[in-house]
């Protein structure tokens, strides 16, 4: 029995993969993502111990590209390559946790609002609307002032402002699922709210949530870079946004130090693009109607 179930699941995954594979952009995104994740995980191994040290940097400040430093050095003399490698950790961490907060709250509130309807739904959706109109940048500034400048602040700011989108999406899907006769059947079998929500609504909402997750990680990374660029980030972390800000501070654009400003920018674009491509590809596999349009 269990072996059969597993065989069945393996087949489902295989079918998903074979459809995903047909989306070239999606596969490209997945490869780029895998590279970034690997880089982030291996950062301590592939960079030297003093890579991020400001007091004992490996090179002299603002060196151009050379054999030792293929992308030059920053204003403290640290290799730009190492900065990008360590920056991927920050970006992916923020992207993951902000998305985690956003998806958890969004799914929870969306399902509750969709399932219970009536005035609880009204209250939940008004709360959602309130968060929906809250600008994440302003909230970030306020939070940074209250909680101090740290990655946690940024994660909370992004998470708190981005869950309403998920909540609305999940609520709509919940309403669609709740109208199906099998919900009525589950109730007639004696299933309570928890049973209906966890056994019927959840599995039918998860595909949308999965696609939403991948799309949201990209957005979160972008917002993190914005925060860091505006100086709201943790000053001690080597995030991509902070690097661009540092580049601007030393006048990298007017001094034509392209190696200072382009690599972090390209890294941001690549990661966000990769997440978006993967998210779109997942969406396409799970929602055949989108597949036709491409």
């Amino acid at each position: 029995m269990n072996a059969l179930v597993w065989a069945r699941r393996r087949r489902t995954v295989a079918r998903f993969w074979s459809q995903f594979r047909q989306n070239k952009a999606g596969v490209f995104g997945l490869v780029v993502l895998a590279l970034f994740v690997l880089t982030a995980l291996l950062a301590p191994v592939i960079t030297a111990d003093n890579a991020l040290s400001v007091t004992r940097p490996p090179g002299s400040p603002l060196e151009g590209p050379s054999a030792d430093f293929p992308l030059g050095t920053d204003r403290s003399g640290r290799s730009m390559i190492d900065m990008i490698i360590w920056g991927s950790r920050v970006s992916l961490t923020v992207g993951f946790w902000a998305t985690f907060i956003s998806i958890t709250f969004g799914t929870l509130f969306g399902i509750l609002a969709g399932h219970f309807g009536g005035w609880p739904s009204m209250v939940l959706m008004r709360v959602t609307d309130w968060f929906l109109v809250m600008p994440s940048l302003v909230l970030g500034v306020v939070l940074a002032a209250v909680m101090g400048r740290s990655l946690t602040t940024i994660i909370v700011a992004i998470g708190v402002t981005s869950w309403p989108t998920t909540a609305r999406l999940v609520r709509a899907q919940t309403l669609a699922v709740e109208a199906r006769p099998y919900i009525e059947r589950a109730k007639a079998l004696g299933g309570g709210h928890l049973h209906v929500m966890s056994n019927h609504v959840m599995p039918n909402v998860m595909p949308i949530v999965l696609a939403q997750t991948t799309l949201m990680v990209g957005t979160a990374i972008l917002v993190e870079s914005t925060f860091a660029f505006l100086g709201l980030g943790d000053p001690t972390t080597a995030s991509w946004g902070a690097t661009i800000q540092a580049a601007r501070d030393v006048g990298a654009v007017s001094s034509r130090m392209w190696w200072y400003i382009l690599p972090p920018g390209i890294a941001i674009v690549l990661v966000v693009l990769a997440f978006t491509l993967v998210g779109r590809a997942i969406e396409g596999v799970l929602n055949p109607k989108l597949r036709e349009r491409r």
Binding site: L4, P181, R185, A186, A188, L189, G190, N199, N204
Partner: protein, 338 residues
């Protein structure tokens, strides 16, 4: 319940009213407007009526899925309590089979999961596998193991309906409420599902309320028929009596449009019934062919048809009709009463 019944009803509606707030235009829709209905153990009752007459609402109310605005539902003589615990116990005994087997199975659940769902809800975990297999084979899916890991979309319509029936049977209910159980199935499969329901009745003593708009189906399967019009039962009695010698003009009209009915079909005139505006007097009088033809006036009941409300028919198994004309013709003394 004044008249004697063969055995105590297992499920009964007692003067049940169900009203809904109408969405636009205001007013309240009286979907079920006073119904008494008894279902005895091992008895198959067909609830017949056109779309929108409230038969599905009545079925949902009998299942406890809808709370009556007034009146009550009796299960083995005790009124249904609407606490989640009491309902859960009630649902072990009274089960539902829906019209559309494709929609009533979650597309992401396997046949095994769909059938085992009831057991899991009620926490009957031991020998789950045997009970699922047993329910599937009782529903005619043999060998059951072959179907365990199929998904609904891999089955035919008839097989899906059998899975739904198995999912209801797995809890060993005594009553099944089937809402148009074969309406979405093709003719060859209908016969099989109906034979299955009859066999379950004979083997397990299962009682059933079959909601349908199809009198032919009622004829094939039911012991008793209740004809519903605009929220009320207008005629009830044994299937042979109602379908061969109907007394209510509405039943007569329904029967006359069957393909093999003798005589010319009676096409009902007038506006379709609207549960937010139930006519005074007999609720059928605006469309009643007997009143329109003047036969009611000849019997001297046309005034009553337009003005006098007919009472709610009692439960039980007796033949009853809610029609001034029919009462006047069969029992002139009754018509003389105000």
């Amino acid at each position: 319940m004044s008249e004697p019944t063969r055995s105590a009803p297992i499920l009964a509606a007692e003067d049940v009213h169900v009203e809904f707030e109408a969405r636009r235009g205001g007013g309240r829709a009286r979907a079920v407007d006073g119904v008494n209905l008894d279902i005895a153990p091992g008895e198959i009752v067909a609830l017949v009526g056109e779309s929108g007459c409230g038969k599905t609402t009545l079925a949902r109310t009998l299942l406890g899925l809808e709370k009556p605005t007034s009146g009550r539902v009796l299960h083995r003589g005790t009124p249904l309590a609407y606490t989640s615990k009491a309902l859960k116990a009630f649902r072990r005994d009274v089960q539902l089979v829906l019209q559309d087997p494709s929609g009533s199975l979650n597309p992401r659940h396997t046949v095994y999961d769909a059938v085992a769902e009831g057991l899991r809800i009620h926490g009957d975990v031991p020998n789950e596998r045997e009970r699922v297999a047993d329910a599937l084979s009782r529903a005619g899916l043999r060998p059951p193991e072959r179907f365990f890991l199929r998904f609904p979309h891999e089955l035919s319509g008839g097989q899906r309906q059998r899975v739904v029936i198995a999912g209801a049977l797995v809890l060993d209910p005594n009553v099944i409420v089937a809402d148009e159980p074969v309406a979405s199935l093709d003719a060859s499969v209908r016969g099989e599902i109906l034979a299955l329901m009859l066999r379950l009745r004979d083997e397990l003593g299962l009682a059933a309320l079959v909601v349908t708009h199809d009198l032919g189906l009622a004829w094939n399967i039911a012991d008793r028929v209740a004809v519903m019009y605009l929220g009320r039962i207008v005629e009830t009695g044994p299937v042979e009596k109602i379908l061969t010698a109907p007394e209510h003009p509405y039943t007569q009209a329904l029967l006359s449009v069957l393909p093999d009915a003798p005589g010319s079909p009676v096409v009902l005139q007038g506006e379709p019934p609207d549960p937010t505006r139930i006519p005074s007097g007999c609720r059928f009088h605006l469309r009643c062919p007997v009143l329109a033809s003047g036969a009611a006036a000849a019997a001297g009941v046309d005034g009553a048809c337009r003005g006098a409300d007919l009472g709610v028919l009692a439960g039980g198994t007796a033949t009853q009709v809610a029609c001034h004309y029919a009462l006047a013709v069969t029992d002139p003394a009754a018509a003389a009463r105000p």
